[in-house]
C-alpha cells in the first residue's frame, strides 16, 4: 500500500503547462531512490492555488510547497519525504480558503433524502428551538450572530423578526424570497436544489420565532429543478410530521407552500412579491408600513432571502457567537458569491466576510480566465456597480462595498477584463432594468428609457459631452423619486461606471473610439494585406457579401456594406483581419 500521496500542478495558468515535465523528473528521482511503490505521485487538474509556479502537496502531512523548481526535487525527497522535515523556503503556510456555512450541505447530501439530512444533524436545530428556547431566545440568538439580510439590503434579520413578533395578530406569515433574478447570480438556485431541508428548517424556526403558522416559498418558475426538490422536501417533512400540526409534540403548527414567480424581476422586491403571492399584479407599494407590520394579506410578515434562512439552523445549533466569530464586526458570517465572467473558476464560493476582493478573485477564483488583465468586477447585479481594479484591496462587506458606490447585493460577481467596454456594461444593465420596470412610477419608467437612449447614442458614436451631465442628473432624479428599489437603484451601474471610467465615456464621445472593441458602431474591420494568404475563408463566411476580391488579387472589406458582425475576424486563421 502506498504511504504517501504527492500531487502536482503547475499553477501558472498564463504560460505553458509544465506539470508533466516536472512530474517526469520527480518520478525519475523517486525511482532512483526506490521509493516509487511507497509514494503515489499524481498530476491533478486544479490545486486551489494560483500563479505560484509548480505547486505540490504532500499527504497525509498536508504540506504545500509552492514555486518548486526541478532542482528542489532532491531536497524534497531527502528532507521531507525521508526525514519528515518541512522546507521553510518553499512552504506555503496559509492560503485563502472558503468557509462553508450556508453551503455546508450542498454537494454533500442527497437533497432528495430527508433521512440523510437528519443523520447529519438535520432538524436538530428545530428540536432545540422548539424544546429549549422561547421565540425571544431564538431572536436573541440571531441578534448575537449579527446575521444580516443576504438578499442585498443587509438589514439585521433579528430586527425584522422582532418587529413581526411584537405585532399582535392572529395570523402571521413567513416568506422565503427565492425570486433570484440578477444576471449572473445563481446562489439561491444552488441552495434550493442542493439543500432544501435546511431551508425548510430555517423557515419553521423563523415561523416559531415570530409566531407565524404559514410559510411560503416564492420561487421563480424558471427554476424547475429547485421547485421539484423543494416540493419533494416539503412532502417528506409533512410525512415525518415536521410540518403541519403539533410539530415534534410542541403544539407548534406550521404549514409550507410554494408560490411560483412568473419571471418578473421586480417581484424580488418584497412588496411586489407580496402582491404577487396575493394574486395581484406584481406592483411594489411605498413603505412604510413595512411587511413586518403589514405584509401578506395585511398581516405581519417576515420576508427573508434564501441564503439568510439557510444560515438560521446553523446559528441555532452552533450558537450566534460562533457565527459572529467569522467575518468582520459589522458584517458577520460568510457570503456566497457566484463568480462569473472572465474568471478561471466560475462557480459558487463561500468566503468569510472581510476578505479582500483581490483574494476572492485571484486566490479563490483563480484569476483571469484569459491572458487579458482584469479591469473591474461588477457586484450586486443591476442594482450594484462596478469596482475598478485599483480598489481590489477593499474587503467584501456591506459597508465597504457601499462606500465604493456598489452594493453587496445577492452575491453575483461578474469579472470583467480589458475587452469589456464600460459603456456597454452600463447599457446592458440599464436595458435589463428598463425591460423589467413595472411602469407604475414615472422616474423609473421614463428616466430609465431616456438614460438608455443616451447610452445608445454614446455607444453609436453620436454622443455629445452634455450627455454625461444629462445621465448624471437623470440618475439623481431616479434615485430620489422612484417608488421602489428597482427604480432607485437602476441608475447605479451608470453612476458607478461614470465615477470610475468617465474617460471611457469621453473617448466614445470625443474620439469616437471604444478601447475594448465592443461597441460595433465605432469599429471598422480591415484586412492586413501582409498577413493575408488570400485563402478566401473570410470571403466565403461574410453573411452580407461585404468582402470583395478574389484569390489572385486578395480581398478587401467594403465598409459601406460591412455590418461589423466580426465573422471574418473569427474565421481567419492568420489574424489578418483586424478591427480598429
Amino acid at each position: 500500500m502506498t504511504e504517501k500521496i504527492i500531487y502536482i500542478k503547475d499553477t501558472n495558468t498564463s504560460k505553458e503547462d509544465n506539470t508533466s515535465k516536472f512530474y517526469n523528473a520527480f518520478e525519475q528521482k523517486l525511482q532512483g531512490k526506490n521509493l516509487l511503490d511507497k509514494i503515489h505521485l499524481i498530476k491533478i487538474a486544479d490545486m486551489g492555488i494560483y500563479n505560484k509556479g509548480i505547486t505540490l502537496k504532500l499527504l497525509p502531512e498536508n504540506i504545500t510547497y509552492v514555486n518548486v523548481k526541478e532542482n528542489d526535487i532532491g531536497r524534497i525527497i531527502e528532507s521531507t519525504i525521508e526525514k519528515g522535515k518541512t522546507l521553510v523556503d518553499l512552504h506555503l503556510k496559509e492560503s485563502y480558503k472558503q468557509v462553508r456555512i450556508a453551503l455546508r450541505h450542498c454537494g454533500n447530501l442527497n437533497p432528495e433524502n430527508i433521512d440523510e439530512y437528519i443523520a447529519n444533524d438535520g432538524y436538530s436545530a428545530l428540536t432545540k428551538a422548539l424544546t429549549e428556547m422561547s421565540p425571544e431566545n431564538v431572536i436573541d440568538e440571531i441578534r448575537k450572530s449579527g446575521l444580516r439580510g443576504r438578499g442585498g439590503g443587509g438589514y439585521p434579520t433579528w430586527l425584522k423578526w422582532k418587529f413581526t413578533l411584537e405585532v399582535d395578530s392572529e395570523q402571521k406569515y413567513v416568506i422565503c424570497n427565492a425570486d433570484e433574478g440578477d444576471p449572473g447570480a445563481y446562489m439561491d438556485r444552488s441552495m434550493l436544489e442542493g439543500d432544501p431541508h435546511s431551508l425548510i428548517e430555517g423557515m419553521i424556526i423563523a415561523g416559531y420565532a415570530v409566531k407565524a403558522t404559514q410559510g411560503y416559498f416564492y420561487i421563480r418558475a424558471e427554476y424547475p429543478l429547485a421547485i421539484e426538490r423543494i416540493q419533494k422536501a416539503i412532502n417528506q417533512a409533512y410525512e415525518y410530521g415536521l410540518l403541519g400540526k403539533n410539530i415534534l409534540d410542541s403544539r407548534v403548527n406550521f404549514d409550507l407552500e410554494i408560490r411560483l414567480g412568473a419571471g418578473a424581476f421586480v417581484c424580488g422586491e418584497e412588496t411586489a412579491l407580496i402582491a404577487s403571492i396575493e394574486g395581484k399584479r406584481g406592483y411594489p407599494r411605498p413603505r412604510p408600513p413595512y411587511p413586518s407590520v403589514k405584509g401578506l394579506w395585511n398581516q405581519p410578515t417576515v420576508i427573508n432571502n434564501v441564503e439568510t434562512l439557510i444560515n438560521v439552523p446553523y446559528i441555532i445549533l452552533e450558537g450566534g457567537t460562533k457565527y459572529s466569530s467569522v467575518g468582520t464586526e459589522k458584517s458577520t458570517g460568510t457570503k456566497v458569491f457566484a463568480l462569473t465572467g472572465k474568471i478561471k473558476n466560475s462557480g459558487l464560493v463561500e468566503v468569510a466576510m472581510g476578505m479582500p476582493i483581490k483574494n476572492l478573485i485571484n486566490d479563490i477564483g483563480g484569476g483571469s480566465a484569459t491572458d487579458k488583465k482584469i479591469k473591474a468586477v461588477q457586484t450586486g447585479g443591476p442594482s450594484g456597480g462596478v469596482i475598478p481594479v485599483n480598489y481590489f484591496d477593499t474587503p467584501v462587506s456591506y459597508e465597504a462595498l457601499q462606500e465604493l458606490g456598489s452594493i453587496m447585493g445577492s452575491g453575483g460577481l461578474i469579472v470583467m477584463d480589458e475587452t469589456d467596454c464600460m459603456v456597454d456594461i452600463a447599457k446592458f444593465y440599464l436595458q435589463f432594468c428598463v425591460d423589467e420596470s413595472c411602469g407604475k412610477c414615472a422616474p423609473c419608467r421614463i428616466g430609465g428609457y431616456q438614460m438608455l437612449r443616451l447610452l445608445e447614442k454614446i455607444s453609436e458614436g453620436k454622443g455629445e459631452l452634455g450627455d454625461i451631465d444629462k445621465l448624471k442628473s437623470i440618475s439623481q432624479g431616479m434615485q430620489k423619486a422612484s417608488l421602489c428599489g428597482l427604480g432607485q437603484t437602476a441608475p447605479n451601474p451608470v453612476v458607478s461606471t461614470l465615477q470610475y471610467f468617465e474617460e471611457e465615456y469621453k473617448e466614445h464621445i470625443l474620439e469616437k473610439k471604444c478601447r475594448a472593441g465592443k461597441c460595433s458602431e465605432l469599429l471598422s474591420y480591415y484586412i492586413i494585406p501582409d498577413k493575408c494568404t488570400k485563402c478566401g475563408l473570410c470571403f466565403k463566411n461574410c453573411p452580407v457579401n461585404a468582402i470583395k476580391g478574389d484569390r489572385k488579387t486578395g480581398f478587401v472589406i467594403d465598409p459601406d456594406l460591412c455590418i461589423k458582425c466580426g465573422k471574418c475576424a473569427e474565421v481567419c486563421k492568420f489574424d489578418a483581419v483586424t478591427r480598429k
Binding site: I42, N110, A119, Y123, G194, D249, N345, V349
Partner: protein, 112 residues
C-alpha cells in the same frame, strides 16, 4: 413525529459516505451531463458487484468543472474528480475503485 423518532432515524442512517460515489446533480451538473455519468456508475457498479453506493448530491460550487464526482473508497483518500464524462467514469471505476490508482489530470481535490 417525536424527538425520539428523529433520534432513531439519525442512528439508523449512515451519516458519512464511507464507500460511495457522489455525483453533483444540480442544474449545473445536469447541464454538463451528470445524468449520463450517474447511469454509467449505477450500471457498472451493479454489473461488477462492487461494494459501493452511488448517490446524488447538490452542487459543490465548482460549476466550471461539472460534472463533479466524489469518490470515497477504502485505502484511498476522498477524491473529487471534475469534468467527468462517460469515458472517465469508466476509468474511475476500473483504475480508482478496482485497482486503487488515482487518475491523472482530472482531480480537483484530495482530502485525507
Amino acid at each position: 413525529m417525536s424527538k425520539i423518532d428523529l433520534k432513531s432515524i439519525k442512528e439508523n442512517t449512515q451519516a458519512s459516505c464511507e464507500c460511495c460515489v457522489k455525483i453533483g446533480m444540480s442544474t449545473c451538473g445536469l447541464a454538463a451531463g451528470a445524468e449520463e455519468v450517474f447511469k454509467v456508475f449505477e450500471t457498472e457498479i451493479k454489473k461488477r458487484k462492487l461494494p459501493l453506493t452511488v448517490r446524488k448530491c447538490g452542487c459543490i460550487g465548482l460549476c466550471c468543472a461539472e460534472p463533479l464526482v466524489e469518490v470515497n473508497v477504502k485505502e484511498l483518500p476522498k477524491v473529487l474528480y471534475g469534468n467527468v464524462d462517460k469515458k472517465i467514469a469508466l476509468k474511475i471505476i476500473e483504475e480508482h475503485i478496482e485497482k486503487k490508482n488515482l487518475i491523472h489530470d482530472y482531480i480537483y481535490e484530495i482530502n485525507m
